[in-house]
């Protein structure tokens, strides 16, 4: 991850929340004590990013600063601090591949290789058709089901080269699989099937 320049991409000149989001903004701000509305900056930026194709243009940061009566620089500081805010456009399917130690031990190299070769892009890049973006991220907190990829808001687990390829195809077809393990494992149970508690205990059985 490198600090991208603020003015690297063409920025929209204006941004405003739609009506539904404005209603949510009111609810969010109401959660904080009067005069502490600046605390709402994170949820509002998130809302703005969701409304704006999963990336946060400067106009949106300025707009949020205006809503919360903050100096724009204070919003820029927050938005640039958190890597979850995308300051540049990302593809419709935003692949965040975990390569931290547990995922790496469980074969994230294959997952990365598959993503890169199948999409024809490197980490940190987007496909020309605007469908996919690829980014390397640190631990996503699903080590027990490593390796994992986060696609937009959803995490897909227990990946290998094959299932990663399938996942990409499914996304391209606009039909992503259900969230969770792609190896058929249930939650974080043993990969080879249950080894205990294989049957429902009988009533009265301790």
């Amino acid at each position: 991850m490198s600090a991208p320049s603020a003015n690297a991409v063409p920025q929209p000149t204006s941004f405003a929340f739609n009506e539904a989001n404005l209603a949510r903004v009111k609810q969010i701000i109401a959660k904080y004590p009067r005069g502490r509305q600046a605390s709402a900056v994170l949820p509002l930026l998130d809302l703005a990013q969701r409304q704006h194709d999963n990336w946060l243009p400067r106009a949106a940061m300025d707009y949020v600063a205006g809503l919360l009566d903050m100096a724009p620089i204070r919003v820029y500081e927050v938005a640039t601090f958190y890597s979850m805010f995308n300051l540049q456009p990302v593809g419709k399917w935003f692949f965040q591949v975990c390569t931290t130690s547990p995922c790496w031990l469980r074969g994230s190299d294959d997952v990365v290789k598959t993503c890169e070769s199948k999409l024809g892009i490197h980490m940190g890049e987007s496909t020309a058709d605007g469908l996919f973006s690829l980014r390397e991220v640190e631990c996503l907190g699903c080590c027990v089901n490593a390796p994992v990829i986060q696609v937009n808001d959803d995490v897909y687990e227990d990946l290998d080269a094959q299932s990663t390829a399938k996942l990409i195809d499914a996304c391209r077809a606009g039909n992503p699989p259900p969230v969770g393990s792609l190896s058929g494992r249930k939650h974080s149970g043993p990969a080879s099937g249950l080894t205990s508690l294989t049957q429902v205990p009988a009533a009265g059985d301790d």
Partner: protein, 687 residues
């Protein structure tokens, strides 16, 4: 009052003091980068680590509250090792470019690396590279050198009140930036150069000009506004190369405005360096003798009533005194030091002073601004108001221009009518003033330099009297001046004598031919077109408006080139000192007048500056109290009861960066005004 032991020494410190302050009290010096007494505590540089008994790790002393019974060790092996470790980390990304760095020789990091640095680095990776930022024409950046102490961010946010700098991104990628590239819009932005402990922020006009040890340092006083900021002039003769602030808690703390700091390059341009006399319509260079002869010829047999003198905004009290004495000797009562025509009453000292003192703002709890834009008229007064406002104890209201002053205030109205409402108690804010412990009014020149100025002054006095601004040990009636010479001029009585004319009268008389000779002493802010056919003598240091109109030009000295007394808006008498000599044949101003008096056959009775200062002190004893806190001035009746117009109060300053002949000649100030004033102007695209 916790008592703690520092290096075996027991010290008692006030509640809320930090360990660092306790160490200082015990005489132990603690290295630091991010900590600064006037800014909030950040605790992020870690340089001030000390060992405290019963804590598992060294503690950042700047952020650790001192507690009863603490045992602090500032020279233990653990402390030293911790500091060395921090220094090594700081130097990992700091470039080794001291030889080409402007901070070299006065760099905190350089100095402290001498004490805690290691002779080589153990970090084999590349140093990080950070793009430089463009912060405008004043502050040069070299962001590779930045150690992220965040002093500049905290200064802009807290003291200057302009939230434009911030730290974006994080960790290895953290950058100090405005994010959207733009010039800082603060009038105090130059102070971040002093605050920066490394060479990341340096002065752009001073870039690669000199090394600190080459410079001769002179302690002096600033004249670009009426605050009288204490400054240090760093000169390598014949030029002043930079201006730095000096500590004076009562006046400028340790800040100065950008105008004070950066206008010095105006001292090199458009200088009058030899006398001139207008011959056949053009100014011809002549000798001093010929210039005096020309004046003497014109003044011969002229009655005093046909002669007049106007003193400008940058002149020193000594020369004004000499000129006043000379005019008296010539029999002229037509003298005035109020170029802008402000209806200031010279008879009562309290009527034209900032009586509460600038430091007094920190006791005020209610403030009414009248016809003033302190942010441009006196940025350091504005910074004090903001400082007090930040404590939440000051309620502010304004009558006059409605501007961004870096703090919130109630806008009451535009003109005298609103002030009259407050004076009569009709306005709700009158109650706020009455209920306040230390209420204050600040009257700007925008409220006084108008035809109904005397009536407005009367209204302001009425506010002061009816709302309880004058009480035992507190005088909340404050006049904010914009001219450094003004209070001194009023103190020594450079105002029309019996039957004399003021500035408007002089100009009118000159236009009608009733005044035949006008002596402009550094007076450039008047409408010279109104001088008619009068014979104009201009004494000053810059070829500005006055010199262009003059028939005789006498080259004087700028504030950096003479020993002169200035009285600031609070009535504080301070002395500026010679840093460099005036250019060419220019001379110190009082000497010119003294020499001219001899040529006119009316020799003034002083031959040395000391004698002249003695004369000043006999005219007004305040001049003997140099540098002291001004004594409380007696209250009296001043101002007029009269009708006021409905015209709105307008601040006299339309361009902060260009207010006097020096700043008008300064390239740096020209860049600032093109960039900042034009951008904020009403005709700009942002309007």
């Amino acid at each position: 009052m916790p008592k703690l032991t520092v290096d075996g020494k027991v010290v008692e410190v006030p509640n809320g003091a930090t360990v660092l302050q306790a160490c200082e009290a015990a005489g132990a010096e603690i290295p630091r980068f991010c900590y600064h007494e006037r800014l909030s505590i950040a605790g992020n540089c870690r340089m001030c680590l000390v060992e405290i008994e019963k804590t598992p790790k060294p503690q950042a002393s700047c952020a650790m509250p001192a507690a009863e019974g603490m045992v602090v060790k500032t020279d233990s092996a653990i402390t030293k090792k911790a500091r060395k470790g921090v220094m090594e980390f700081l130097l990992i990304n700091h470039p080794l470019d001291c030889p080409i760095c402007d901070q070299g020789g006065e760099c905190d990091l350089q100095d402290q690396a001498m004490a805690y640095g290691f002779d080589r680095g153990r970090f084999d990776e590349n140093k990080r590279a950070v793009p430089d930022k463009d912060l405008g024409p004043l502050v040069k950046t070299s962001m590779n050198r930045c150690i992220h102490c965040t002093r500049c961010i905290r200064f802009c946010t807290e003291v200057a009140g302009v939230e434009e700098l911030g730290a974006t991104f994080r960790g290895e990628h953290m950058e100090i930036t405005t994010y959207v590239e733009k010039a800082l819009t603060s009038e105090l932005s130059g102070n971040i150069i002093d605050l920066c402990p490394v060479g990341a922020l340096t002065s752009k006009p001073y870039a690669f000009v000199a090394r600190p040890w080459e410079l001769r340092k002179t302690e002096s006083i600033d004249v670009h506004d009426a605050v009288g900021s204490n400054i240090r002039l760093d000169a390598r003769p014949p030029e002043v190369l930079r201006v730095l602030p000096r500590l004076n808690e009562a006046v400028n703390e340790e800040w100065i405005s950008d105008k004070t700091r950066f206008a010095y390059d105006g001292l090199k341009r458009q200088r009058l360096d030899r006398p001139y006399v207008r011959i056949n319509g053009t100014l011809q260079p002549v000798s001093w003798q010929d210039a005096f002869v020309a004046i003497a010829a014109r003044l011969r047999n002229l009655p005093g009533s046909k002669i007049a003198a106007i003193a400008g905004d940058l002149v020193d009290a000594e020369a004004m005194m000499a000129l006043k004495d000379l005019m008296q000797a010539l029999g002229s009562p037509n003298i005035d030091c109020r170029q802008d025509g402000a209806k200031l009453d010279a008879s009562t000292r309290a009527a034209y002073l900032f009586n509460s003192g600038i430091a007094g703002i920190e006791q005020a709890d209610a403030l009414l601004l009248v016809g003033t834009n302190p942010r441009w008229e006196a940025p350091l007064v504005n910074a004090r108001i903001r400082k007090r406002w930040l404590t939440g104890k000051l309620k502010i209201a304004a009558v006059g221009p409605q501007l961004d002053l870096t703090y919130k205030y109630d806008y009451l109205g535009a003109g005298p009518q609103t002030l009259a409402d407050v004076a009569s108690g009709k306005h709700a804010f009158a109650e706020v003033l009455k209920n306040a412990k230390n209420p204050m009014i600040i009257v700007g020149q925008g409220a006084l330099a108008r035809t109904d100025g005397a009536a407005v002054l009367g209204l302001a006095r009425q506010v002061a009297e009816t709302c309880g601004l004058i009480k035992d040990g507190w005088n909340g009636f404050n006049v904010l001046h914009t001219a450094a010479a003004r209070v001194g001029g009023l103190d020594l009585g450079f105002v029309p004598g019996q039957g004399g004319r003021d500035v408007a009268g002089i100009l009118e008389g000159a236009g009608k031919g009733e005044i035949e000779v006008v002596y402009l002493f550094g007076a450039d802010e008047i409408d010279t077109a109104k001088l008619g056919k009068a014979f104009v003598i201009y004494q000053g240091h810059h070829g500005d408006k006055g010199a262009h109109r003059a028939d005789v030009v006498l080259p004087g000295a700028a504030y950096t080139e003479k020993n002169g007394t200035y009285v600031n808006t609070e009535g504080r008498v301070q002395q500026a000192r010679v840093a460099v000599f005036p250019p060419g044949e220019a001379r110190e101003d009082w000497k010119i007048i003294r020499a001219l008096s001899e040529a006119l056959g009316r020799k003034l009775p002083y031959d040395t500056l000391a004698q002249l200062r003695g004369r000043l002190a006999t005219v007004n004893p305040v001049f003997a109290r140099v540098g002291e806190k001004p004594a409380a001035a007696a209250w009296g009746a001043f101002g007029q009861v009269g009708t006021t117009t409905t015209a709105a109060f307008v601040s006299p300053i339309t361009n902060f960066y260009m207010t006097d002949p020096i700043t008008r000649c300064s390239e740096t100030m020209a860049k600032c005004s093109a960039l900042l004033v034009a951008a904020s102007g009403k005709t700009g695209t942002h309007g």
